[in-house]
């Protein structure tokens, strides 16, 4: 990253004259001073330290974790703790359950949200604006309002501790519909659809050969966002699934942390590490794309 050094030295104080830099999206940005780097470094430290400390705590014995001064460097117990957590509380099963739930929710949300987003963005139909307003308005309804009837429902169906009780209510999300609409509004030229229509393509063909290819980048981002959300979802899974049944990772963790017998905090934090690590790996690999998705502007209202 030496190219920055080749630019004219950043002015300390005020720039002598307004500089025009066309062609770069960061055109208006000032160069950062050392103070900026200090603050940013501090922010990154605060963001990452609890995650690092989770790893540290998961690699010590339970006794060591609850001793002051706290351990700050990784210990040797990580694999031991991993195998205990894995066997004792079935983190393996929870991991699989969570993957199934998050995967199913992400796939179906992306599919349905793309279809609905396409309709809201590019198709004319009666009541479009009213329906879109309803979609947006549903985002404000707290999940607390529906858990009691839902719980009765899944009890009647015998679905307590069944993964479908968590998957079904999340099959499609208002946020996703809105996200895809915002993206397709700009990304999909109407001419493309009209051309396909003139060629005699019916709706499904247009979806498959025109909409999906155009929407693919946004679908990928939405899929990741929803996957993260579903992976971390807590309130409803905590009610619908019990730690003793087939929990997701979050439910299993809540069970780990609140047991009545003496708690081995190293094991608890190892569980937290298992729950966090897969997503962190995804973030490390795809971080730029996820950041790009959030900053793409589609998230804004």
């Amino acid at each position: 990253m030496t190219q920055v050094l080749n630019r004219p030295a950043p002015a300390h104080g005020r720039p002598p004259a307004p500089r025009k830099r066309f062609g770069t999206k960061a055109g208006r940005q000032h160069h950062a001073g050392p103070f900026t780097y200090i603050l940013l470094g501090f922010a990154a430290l605060i963001s990452l330290f609890p995650l690092y400390w989770n790893l540290v705590a998961a690699s010590h014995t339970g006794e060591r974790v609850v001793q002051a001064p706290s351990p700050l460097l990784p210990g040797k117990e990580l694999f031991n703790n991993l195998s205990i957590a894995w066997n004792q509380v079935d983190m393996g099963e929870a991991l699989i359950n969570t993957t199934i739930v998050a995967g199913a929710v992400a796939c179906s949300t992306v599919l349905f949200a793309t279809l609905a987003g396409f309709a809201f963005a590019k198709l004319e139909f009666k009541g479009r604006n009213v329906l879109l307003t309803i979609v947006v308005a549903t985002m404000t309804v707290p999940p607390q309002l529906s858990v009691i009837p839902l719980y009765q429902l899944i009890t009647d169906f015998g679905w307590v501790n069944q993964l479908q009780s968590v998957i079904l209510p999340s099959l499609v999300a208002a946020f996703g519909v809105f996200f895809m609409r915002q993206y397709l509004l700009e990304a999909l030229p109407v001419e493309l659809i009209e051309a396909a229509r003139v060629d005699g393509a019916h709706s499904l063909r247009i979806i498959w050969h025109v909409v999906f290819p155009v929407a693919r980048p946004a679908m990928a981002v939405l899929g990741m966002l929803i996957f993260v959300q579903a992976w971390n979802d807590f309130f409803w899974p905590f009610i619908a699934l019990t730690p003793d049944g087939s929990p997701t990772l979050q439910v299993a963790l809540a069970g780990l942390g609140s047991g009545n017998h003496t708690i081995n905090h190293a094991i608890v934090l190892t569980g937290a590490l298992i729950a966090t690590l897969p997503l962190l790996v995804v973030f490390a690999v795809l971080g730029k794309h996820i950041v790009g998705g959030i900053t793409s502007g589609a998230v804004k209202s």
Partner: protein, 338 residues
């Protein structure tokens, strides 16, 4: 599935085509069922595309919402028969100290998590908007907490905030501050829980702000720089007003999130979590609702709490709407984003 609407567009019925097998039908007979089907296709498919959302919402959102309202007027136990009680549940909430305590806690925790969170996100976005080396790293780093689950974050912070051996009290000890009782004292406990929320969401909000900041036209800054405005002045007078719709959006989203706070206090409190600590010092409305519904078994009471939450959100929404409207008069670009 949407597929069933369009079964035969490609495979034309053999009966009609039998006379002239190769010739495409639409040239010969433009008003045939095929073009009618095309029109139906055009008219109906939008509804087919949006149907899944509305079906799911009707089944898992709207119906339960109304049913919860109905339940809130009854005396119902888990698995038992309903008994009409009118507004009894609401009156009992009004008389209940636990309810007012939970309402106040929800409000204060919401305030001390949302306000610093959004202010820090603004500052952070401003910093990230500078020309910096390794900006990809900083962006991913501040977003990392977003990838952490409520449960994992709350468990880690419960250790960091532990009164006896927690790292935070050790750090405070180095600067000469006595150990703070983060678990049993009201304000420290609420601050600790707010810290978890703030930690998880600041980076996410910062990136949303950053996106909005990058859309602010460059000329504005250049003109301001010509007039001799300092960078801080530019931030206050150009950046903030320009991204006001985005700020409003994040305020709405954070408020909704704060009203529903559940997992952080639950897990932070360990075995005392459901009650919101030994003295209910951080019991939120959601926690109270869970306690009423699933521990006490009083589903009618729990439903009433849920409905109070909805009314609360509507009230907050109304206030924000009015505030947003009063601010729009003086700004021309208010309609820039829809």
């Amino acid at each position: 599935m949407a597929t069933s609407l369009q079964p035969d567009q490609d495979a034309s019925p053999p009966v009609v085509l039998s006379g002239s097998p190769k010739e495409p039908k639409k040239h010969r007979d433009p008003d045939s069922w095929r073009s009618r089907l095309y029109r139906i296709d055009l008219k109906a498919t939008p509804y087919v595309y949006v149907a899944p959302f509305f079906l799911v919402f009707a089944a898992f959102g709207l119906f339960p919402l109304v049913y919860t309202g109905w339940l809130s007027l009854q005396k119902v136990e888990l698995g038992g028969e309903a008994e009409w009680r009118g507004l009894d549940n609401y009156i009992r909430l009004w008389d209940s100290d636990f309810f007012w305590n939970a309402l106040a806690n929800t409000f204060t925790i919401g305030l001390i998590s949302t306000v610093p969170q959004l202010l820090m996100a603004l500052g952070l976005a401003h910093l990230l908007n500078y020309r910096i080396r390794g900006r990809g790293f900083y962006r991913v780093a501040v977003l990392a907490p977003y990838a952490t689950s409520i449960a994992a974050a709350a468990l880690v912070f419960a250790q960091l905030f532990n009164t006896d051996y927690g790292l935070i009290n050790q750090l405070l000890g180095y600067v000469g501050i006595d150990a703070v009782n983060w678990e049993t004292e009201k304000w420290p406990a609420q601050i600790a829980i707010s810290t978890i929320v703030t930690w998880r969401w600041t980076g996410y909000n910062a990136l949303i702000y950053l996106a909005a900041m990058q859309a602010v036209p460059n000329d504005l800054y250049e003109a301001a720089a010509l007039d001799g405005a300092s960078r801080f002045r530019q931030f206050i007078s150009i950046t903030i007003p320009s991204i006001k719709p985005t700020i409003l959006f994040t305020i709405v989203v954070s408020t909704i999130g704060a009203t529903q706070l559940f997992g952080e206090p639950l897990i932070f409190g360990g075995s005392l979590g459901i009650g919101g600590g030994s003295g209910n010092q951080y019991q939120t409305l959601s926690l109270l609702m869970y306690e009423k519904g699933w521990i006490t078994g009083a589903l009618g009471q729990a439903s009433a709490i849920a409905w109070v939450m909805l009314l609360l959100l509507l009230l907050i929404g109304l206030v924000q709407y009015l505030l947003g409207r009063s601010g729009r008069g003086k700004k021309k670009d208010g309609a820039a984003r829809s």
